[in-house]
Amino acid sequence: MAVSVELLAQIQLFAALSPRTRRCIAEKAVWAEYAAEAVLYRQGDPPTALYVLQTGRVKLYRQSKDKCQILALPVPGDCLGAESLPTGAPSPYSATTLTPVTAIYLSPDVLQPLLDEHPDFQEVFLRLITDRLKQFVTLVHDLAFRDVTSRLATVLLARAELEGQPHDEGIVFDRLLSQQEFAEMVGTAREVVYRVFKKFEDDGLIRITRRCILVRDLDALRAIALQEAH
């Protein structure tokens, strides 16, 4: 399926592009659909395509031996991939879908000439990379200085603020991740996540079902998220 110029114009990041650049990108872009648990690309792959997420969710992660660190959970409207294209280095992380996904797809072959010919696209692409960079800087800070309880509270808080819907008792969002994946977000073991979530539930901060997470006390969660380890 073709990608229309109108669709590109709706993407926040592409709004700054000139109509001509948008037209050139639309000509080269492809509409792509993926099932849940599909691998988009792997850490170590040659520079990958650029994906503009339209619907569904993806996890970005690094893996070594049997351990895994989730780096980010992009939401629709976000871009992912192609970050190593300017250096030609292998992809620094893997991307796998968590749900069925639709995305606008720009292969590395078409991406490079587009970047060379359109300085405004180059700037948008730079913005993508520096945004991802800022995300990683925050992650590094959290991993270095916050304990697991504070990190889990931070993850719940961030998701409540980004994805949450109002609910009678607070804010609700899709659970999306298994206990194991929550562990991989904060760099701990599944058992620790179980214990911390149980404590949060017992204290009335959250309620977790198989599909949803309900945050009942945003302020209390925020106070925990802000604590730093000594």
Partner: protein
């Protein structure tokens, strides 16, 4: 503190990975707005939280990037060696330095102020390409640091530090850091580092000498994902 400042020659920029593919004419203009700074070992280059306003390229020596927690705990994040770049992004207001930079030994830096870059870009939009290279490289590095902090065991982190900080120009790769510093860099305490180094010595992987560690088997220290990742600064 700045001890001395001098002009930068465009030939010197050619040695930076970010500028390798840049036409000579652009390089000359870039070199003209950059300044050379020298720092003595231990000098602070900038402090976390201060307004950021320049890009810094390492021409010589090593720069330590450190983060401070609200409680004053210090975590060494990485060392920037020759060819690496740190600092703000001239195109977008990154507002504050996300970390502190400190000279580890005699350091020479080439500094590109944000304003100078903006003026240059008005004449030649293609200079943005150099920034793409710089930030793509840094993203790669930070992804690695995130994983190192989150998913690795303490032993993995110490091994990684030894690899990163090893001076490979010597006949045998040598790490000239105290156990205390290695502990700060790998997010643990001195006792754990000492115990781990003793274990590595028994396995014939390193030799511990006063004030330094000689690496005898470099490959044995490589992390599980090393085959998939480039470890060189490029």
């Amino acid at each position: 503190m700045v001890t001395e400042s001098l002009a930068v020659k465009f030939e010197e920029l050619l040695e930076m990975p970010a500028f390798r593919d840049m036409p000579q004419e652009q390089l000359r203009r870039l070199a003209a707005v950059m300044t050379r700074y020298h720092y003595a070992p231990g000098q602070i280059i900038f402090v976390e939280g201060e307004p950021a306003g320049a890009l810094w390229f390492v021409a010589q020596g090593r720069v330590k990037i450190i983060k401070h927690s609200l409680n004053g705990r210090i975590q060494g994040l990485c060392l920037m060696n020759r060819g690496k770049c740190f600092g703000s992004c001239p195109l977008f207001n990154m507002e504050k330095n996300p970390a502190t930079a400190q000279a580890l030994d005699e350091v020479t830096l080439f500094v590109l102020p944000d304003e100078a870059f903006q003026q240059l870009r008005a004449r030649d939009p293609q200079v943005v390409k150099a920034l793409l290279h710089v930030y793509s490289q840094r993203l790669q590095h930070l992804a690695q640091v995130s994983e190192a902090l989150g998913a690795w065991t303490v032993a993995d982190r110490i091994n990684d530090c030894l690899l990163v900080y090893a001076n490979r120009e010597m006949q045998q790769p040598t790490v000239e850091l105290t156990h205390e510093k290695l502990a700060a860099l790998s997010g643990t305490v001195r006792e754990v580092v000492t115990r781990h180094l003793n274990l590595l010595e028994r396995e014939g992987i390193v030799r511990n000498e006063t004030g330094r560690i000689i690496i005898l088997n470099f490959d044995a220290l490589l992390p599980p994902c090393a085959g998939e990742m480039q470890r060189s600064p490029e």
